[in-house]
Symmetry: C2
Subunit: 183 residues, 2 copies
DNA sequence: ACCTGAACACCGTTCAAGT
DNA sequence: ACCTGAACACCGTTCAAGT
């Protein structure tokens, strides 16, 4: 089905993920795919949401600190994205995923934000900025396609950098709770 | 020259920006373009850096508050990106710009961060997160290409949302100065 | 339900040759 | 320096037809 698409990704990268190549690998005519998937972008959307199934959502018994839960959740998302670097540019172009897994994770984030005391009107912007930051950071951590030059930072440095900036963000969101401002 | 490329962008969107279409609009054979530009991605990079020339850099006489300067600079960048929505996906795919204008703006950001008291080791991650956040927010504010459905937020709401999350980020970065942590 | 043959309307890029 | 003709090796998608 669409396992062939994943195979192509790990090999040739996202540029090699073409309808005709998928059909070729299945030993089938290119147009035969349209019996199983509506279009190329529909196939991509399925791939994107599928990956999100591997994000570890924090245990609900971990009632201690919702901010720590957010940190853990976004870090797991970041690592999941980095595990499939060829998919990351597609998240950017498709503006994230909108499948069932994406919705589920969004609900978890919202619940954590509410438990952290974020004002209801700020929950949506806060969720948005966390997602933007995570996908964006993953994109910049991923090597540019045209230039497979050595990445300037090691993956460990990248993780530390992500944890640092994520901490800044969470600090800023939390600070807005302590001394809320009108706007 | 590459003004034709911009014309195609404002009309057909980034999907219409193809070598052959540019050549068509210039009344010229497709391969004639390769006398003026090395490749398609080189053309894109030139377009991206060109746009950054319109970002308003804060006046240096504005010595008051470097954090406010950062806010102004990133907001101007955000608005510049929104003014060319078809270019935004390209910034994502190309991981930002790397031309002379991009370098100049990066230097300004670094100077402001240093003046704000950010530790030298944190300047690069801080610059990175500001850029990631700005481009990422612009990307999510831009309507997805496949779905020209009504944007869920008005442009004014989007600007407010951006200002809010940018403020969180700057708060977090500033807070790290007041009580620095080892990591 | 799932596949094929054939076609449509495209791509980016290169090479040799012209002026 | 800048252009053309011709070609190479591709794309996504549709339509009609087969089983």
């Amino acid at each position: 089905v669409l396992a062939a698409a994943r195979r192509l990704l790990v090999e040739g990268g996202s540029r090699a993920l073409t309808m005709r190549a998928v059909a070729r690998q299945l030993g089938v005519a290119p147009n035969a795919l349209y019996s199983h998937v509506a279009s190329r972008t529909a196939l991509l959307d399925e791939l994107l949401d599928e990956l999100l199934a591997e994000v570890k959502t924090p245990t609900t018994s971990d009632t201690d600190d919702p901010v720590a839960g957010l940190h853990a959740l976004m870090s797991s998302t970041y690592e999941t994205l980095l595990a499939a670097p060829d998919l990351v540019p597609l998240y950017l172009v498709r503006h994230g995923a909108r499948g069932p897994n994406a919705i589920r994770l969004g609900d978890v984030v919202d619940a954590l934000l509410e438990r952290a005391g974020v004002a209801p009107a700020s929950v949506i912007p806060a969720r948005r900025v966390l997602i933007v930051h995570t996908i964006g950071a993953a994109a910049f951590a991923t090597a540019a396609e045209g230039e497979p030059a050595a990445p300037p930072l090691s993956t460990k440095q990248l993780q530390e950098s992500f944890a640092l900036s994520l901490g800044w963000l969470l600090t800023g969101i939390s600070a807005a709770i302590d001394r809320p401002r009108d706007s």
